[in-house]
Symmetry: none
Amino acid sequence: MDTEVWRPLLHDNGSKIVFLVMDGLGGLPREGDGSTELEAARTPNLDSIAPRSALGLFDPVGPGITPGSGPGHFALFGYDPVENTIGRGMLSAMGLGFDVTPRDLTIRCNFATLDREGRVADRRAGRISTEKNRELCTRIARAMKPMPGVEVFLETEAEHRALLVLRGDDLHEDVAETDPGVTGELPVDPTAKSPSSRRSSEALVRLLAQVREILRDEPQANFILLRGYARFRAYPSMRERYGLRSLAVAGYPMYLGISRLLGMDTHRETGGIAAEFDRVAALIKDFDFAFCHVKKTDSTGEDGNFDAKVHVIEEVDAALPKLLAAKPDVLVVAADHSTPSRLRGHSWHPVPVLLYAATARYDRLARYTERQAAAGSLGRGPLKNVMLLAVAHAGRLKKFGA
Amino acid sequence: MDTEVWRPLLHDNGSKIVFLVMDGLGGLPREGDGSTELEAARTPNLDSIAPRSALGLFDPVGPGITPGSGPGHFALFGYDPVENTIGRGMLSAMGLGFDVTPRDLTIRCNFATLDREGRVADRRAGRISTEKNRELCTRIARAMKPMPGVEVFLETEAEHRALLVLRGDDLHEDVAETDPGVTGELPVDPTAKSPSSRRSSEALVRLLAQVREILRDEPQANFILLRGYARFRAYPSMRERYGLRSLAVAGYPMYLGISRLLGMDTHRETGGIAAEFDRVAALIKDFDFAFCHVKKTDSTGEDGNFDAKVHVIEEVDAALPKLLAAKPDVLVVAADHSTPSRLRGHSWHPVPVLLYAATARYDRLARYTERQAAAGSLGRGPLKNVMLLAVAHAGRLKKFGA
């Protein structure tokens, strides 16, 4: 629905909306009984609210499209995930909790091995250790002499992966990625692909020449490859878009980083699921909207560990009363995408969504599972619709038209 | 679906389509057994056709959007409800059965009380009686001297509400609304917000000065406030759009007025539901399409009277054989929006639609209810799609493409 249609209808009635997001929740049937992770889990608390909820199945980006974490979360918050892209460099910055400013160009950076002819021999530098990565980043940072007017930050992620950030005026992202994508080729030059990116290109050419010198005696990590250029981009905040003072609670920096891009107040809570829920309940009084992120449904799915994923779902369920203590007028239980343990990765399968509110036309379905959600009255649609549905169920939208 | 795709496919096979629209039909579960109004109603006649029908749940404007009566009906007739807006003044004119011409600017007008400083003391003039309103409208009409070339009509609605219509050339709607929206402020001047509206503005400034004089000694209703300016707008007729000679039967002028805007032949029938159905059956032979409007499902919902709404549904059901006597090739039972008695007003919840036709791939669902419709094969989609589905089921659309 066009923003121009509903934005004039917003009004603040003091109601509260909570989104419980289990990352990668959607699953696939296992061998044997054909249960998905959600179906196999014992979830008495979810089972007690499911019959009084409206359910549906939602596509984070579109039918058949497997979303990354960025698009999945943009869709959850009602931002079109195709229009509101987030580059890989920016996602790395979010993951590190790097405080991005509007003058920043963020870049995903891999340590790599060049052979004697300067061709890429290993695009991951033999997956050097994270400690080695840190040592190299420090060495580069000390020795490099960036172009005047440009600040450079190099931050270790893990193994061969790092984040490079250029900060300055007129830095644009339309620069050639230097990773050739295959071994046996020379790194690509970071040439400007449009006139506006000339300055970024110059800064990177200069930097790469220095890095080549600084790392010349390294046996493995003797160069860096650049991709995923992403300039800072301003998104309308949740406050601007929906009039919602918004809170995000998560254990992982990346989700807090995305939330911060949308103007949410972010709180890192590493004490586990129950602690996150307690945190939401403790903080909600100053907010209209709270996003609470559970990571381990995704990571267990990525590990291909069906039973571990089931266990995480059961842990969420056991802690649910703590989240309900926040007394949301609308509780949405959802996911940013599916990560079936059978596929060991993100997938395109739609995600089940549960909407629990006094204003819900509840479906009387027994459980919150993918198959039950397929019969729910929210139907099958784009995930980005769910946010507005939540706002409506919270009584925050007036009538359209006379 | 784009009009250009299907319009060339239309052909007239003499079939007949009937839309039975129960205004505000969609409901919410009541306390206790969790039944909606439709579920609680005894509907043996609807129950007899439901299993041989295709069902679905439809959003009049979009998920989460609560429609007014205008958008709800435009969507029912397959007109995009966001593109085909209708202003409040025009809706008032429709409600009064005022015969709007293409030279008209319609305005929603409230009698109000100004204090001695000319500030708005009561935006509704103490809700004066409808008789008082009539008396004042007559007095103003007799005493006013409109700008040359502009005719002015002032028609009582009810209590403090009236309809003001300017008729003339070059009258546009882009004029400032004079109702400040709060008390203690001066009325806003009806200034032109664009050059095209200068003439409307001049006519209104002159008129308001006269009204102030005419009403100066009134204790309560000593001024009028203007809003909801709506110029006549031409919509393609049902005949032009679908090739359907169309009939509307309703008890309330507003729905006939909207129908007239779409070129339907309108018949007011105030004898109740059965009389409306008889009227459709009697007139259908000269038409291809009939719209039959039941108001009381909405008004009982607005009253918050669950049982009364159930009773209206049962009354419709009992009379249904009279409508089936019209022998429609396609019968659609639908609503323009939900008005759950629990919410005492329009809501965003999708409306159940039943399509009964020999060509329907029927769902074998037991009843026409919101929850059963959620499982229907028409799925969940925009309400504006239903009209074309009806046209297709009536055999009025040829094949697309070779």
